[in-house]
Symmetry: C4
Subunit: 314 residues, 4 copies
């Protein structure tokens, strides 16, 4: 039993690129994608009418598979050091990934107990798409940056909301009496303000008077600055994160070079670290070059310039 748990743990959470875990995880990914497609096309009335029974059957199978997956993950979680010991499974159950797995199946069981709107329940299944984040390595950088810049982007969105309210108030004052349907109150005018400041510009509501258009001109130009804020924050965030990762790799290279050469074992460790940090091979070799280029030891007295042992007294 213990051994089986370990094998399952490795198959679900370990190296997913070789052997049977690879096929298991690929199958789960296909099932998730099929679920999303089923919900999307299931919302078409004609499909629902002609294929409704098949969709229900597919839903039952999917929930069964995801429920088993969730329970197995919960069972094997204690194999990880982080979740061993008391309350380990509970702590695992509260991690974002486990909560996503729960959200993927919970609506189905809630729907059995409570009287809920079927259409709403069906759409909730779409949240299963987030299960895919587990498998996407290249999305890690994206999510890291979004998490780190969350506060700054939140501030930008807050500033945007304030400016939307102020723009809506302005146009309401100017055109409130000319277009009572569209600008008759600040909440109504917020639709125009939001559509304009985000540069979406549907054109269903536009200022029609000369002062209204002058104000609108100001707001469209301000919108450009508004839209630039999150772009600026994210651009800086990506640069910072990539630099941080490159520096982390550089520190590893430095440490490996302390004795003057990179041994075979050190090379393997560096390679693993490189993949983990997402540093490209090209950059990695540039870093290695740059670090090796500098004087590691005084070329005349032969002593390392970066000695870890204290220098002998003269």
């Amino acid at each position: 039993m213990q051994r089986r748990r370990l094998i399952l743990y490795r198959g679900l959470e370990g190296d997913l690129r070789h052997g049977w875990p690879r096929y298991l995880n690929a199958a789960l990914m296909v099932l998730i994608a099929a679920n999303v497609i089923a919900v999307v096309i299931g919302s078409i009335a004609a499909v629902q009418r002609d294929w409704g029974d098949w969709l229900v059957a597919f839903e039952l199978v999917s929930v069964a598979v995801f429920t088993v997956e969730y329970l197995v993950r919960l069972w094997v979680a204690v194999e990880a050091k982080a979740y061993s010991g008391r309350w380990g499974r509970l702590r695992y159950a509260l991690t974002p990934m486990a909560l996503i797995d729960l959200v993927a199946i919970a609506p189905f069981y809630l729907g059995l107990w409570l009287e809920l709107d079927t259409r709403f329940l069906r759409v909730l299944r779409l949240l299963r798409v987030f299960k895919l984040t587990r498998y996407s390595a290249s999305m890690d950088l994206l999510l890291t940056v979004l998490r780190q810049e969350a506060a700054a982007i939140g501030s930008a969105m807050f500033v945007m909301l304030i400016i939307i309210v102020l723009a809506a108030s302005g146009i309401h004052l100017i055109e409130g009496r000319v277009q009572p349907d569209a600008m008759g109150s600040i909440p109504k005018a917020m639709w125009w303000a939001a559509v304009t400041l985000t540069t979406v510009g549907y054109g269903d509501v536009v200022p029609v008077t000369v002062p209204g258009r002058l104000f609108g001109l100001l707001i469209t130009v301000a919108g450009v600055g508004m839209v630039a804020l999150p772009a600026g924050i994210l651009a800086s965030g990506f640069s910072q994160e990539l630099n941080k990762r490159r520096e982390a790799y550089r520190r590893r290279v430095k440490r490996a070079l302390e004795d003057g050469t990179v041994s075979r074992r050190e090379r393997a460790v560096l390679e693993r670290k490189r993949r983990e940090l997402g540093v490209s091979e090209e950059e990695a070799s540039a870093i290695l070059d740059a670090e090796s280029a500098g004087p590691r030891s005084c070329p005349h007295c032969g002593k390392p310039l970066t000695a870890s042992e204290p220098a002998p007294p003269r």
Copy 2:
């Protein structure tokens, strides 16, 4: 009296995260938010009709609270070193934060003396939202960057205005006679030019002739470059500011490491500085690692390279 002033000062301007100041400031924030909501929904005719009296009452209470707040802040300002001494309170009253507090209540008192448009006065209350900036720590970076890049963004906006005028002139020459209502003069054509160059694109005015569309194609593509300018400026601004803050932290770490180790007291000072500069814990430890890694002492004579005492003559 003196002591009470000091206590109030600490409650309003000091550490707002513990004890009664926390609840006081939270209450003020809620009141500000409620004011904004009151103005927004108060602009709906039906709400004004049914709840008008309540809104007036709420306004009276709010102004009373904000007036008391303003006077108290003015009274306790001299507790701060920067505003002690002669003219201290006046100097405080001219700071941006104090002016915002004044603007939040001034319209009400002006409305008592002068005959002003009630709708306009009501919207002016929205400016109270800026009182919130006092409480937002995460907005500090945003405002710092916007302040530093103000000149560059101003230039970009000026360039944009020039290009709007040139684009408006071009389309006025080409389609002025075809669409006299929309393009009959340069000021009229500026509406189309601004809506296009900012990529808002309402579609209420579009070129209809073949040369007009060719010119429009050119302008839409130019608009993409136009919109990119502020994004580029802000992206660079955020990077620069974050780098500057990180470098400031690095200098602190360097100074703390001069004697070879980071003492407990130094650690506390660094932690305070880290929070103040908004450097993430992850980055802070990376900086500490990088600084500790370098040679702290001359590899030949074994003495520390960064001594604070002057070198003895040889």
Copy 3:
């Protein structure tokens, strides 16, 4: 024969800036551009009617020229070290540039054998425009960055697709019964979601109910963040790539400076490298200044710090 092959090789793949290769390659570029223009204007019915025969003749000439060009390139490819030896021509034929050359002529020959839609075949000729990338030096940086950031941009596009599906589901739930034509199913609602989240905003479909507009407001603001993601990724990508190139140049300068001076031959090599890496002259001289400024020799023993020969034992 061998010599002629070498001359042709140099004329097609070597230095294209002097002598007859310059005119040959300029002629090929003009022909490609003329092909694109011919396809574009050939799609106008009136042009097709009046000039159809000329366009067919031009197409025959173009295909003949491109076929000869393709065969000659294949023949001379083995002159390059990379494609000499066995299977050299096959390996060359599988490079992106050779495949583009094949795609430029293949549709014509396929059209002779198979019954294909003429309109579709004609548009396929547009792919010849990619033959131009061979000649564009300034596009190299662009393509390098796009290639390096492909994974990150792919992730961003995937996130965008997920958010489009979620936004479409939301608006379908809210307005599906009000606007059955536009929001009656998730696939239908995806049109609105995509047009809004990309901030295109045609305005042919807009939410009309109050909850729909509230949801729409949320989505427009989210769209701004969505659009910012690729901008951020690319901005960071360009910075990284330019830094990498500058560092590569700096390493070259460092190596050239190892003996203390930059000889005439080293200067020529650096200049070639500088052009290859696209480092501006201004930056190059700044790098040279910075590198020359640092201590090139140990200030105590007077010997160069970066010696290539191993240090003698003490």
Copy 4:
């Protein structure tokens, strides 16, 4: 005469912030702005009718002033070292600033000799706005970055044009028969493609069939990437340029610190350089701190670590 020329030269090209040159240049700036406003409002038929004579008079005065300005600048140009000697004035006349001054007055004189469209001539006067760039210090960074990134942005625009043509061909194939007016030929369909790929999205032309909308969805998402390209290029450009300027300043600081202290004269030189490079005071002091922090001389043997003279043999 010689002296008068020198005085005028200093007044027009030297330090414009003190004495009479300040008022002269301010007057010229006001005149330029007034010219732009005159052209813009002069395009309104009613204004032209009622104020036409005044506008003509103002134009005559303006041209007279600008002509005198141009001739005086040409006369004093030889005071600058760069334009002294033979052909000096001609070389000055070919600088961008001098050409702009010429373009500002040339249309008027051409209009006297040739029969030209008055409306077109009038709009040409708008080009006088470029004379303002002479006075704008904060626009220098913007123009430097735009000049440096011109090649990259050009490539991005070229890529955009290719993608517009390909998108137009695609939608022409799909909807050419459904919407012959809007998509009947590739040139016609380019209007939709450009409006969509630049995320302007007027909505005057939209795909209406299901395959058309699927293709449109793809194009709107691609448009987001398209728009991100110039933003990324410019963001990177601004960062690079600011870094370069900061590094140039750092090199100056380093040189000033070579002898261990910054003398009063060195401080003045640094301050001038700082303004010229547009480095903020805050950053400048951070750079000074960072450079002073490092060991300038070995604290034990007292010799400078960065010696300019060769070290004595041991």
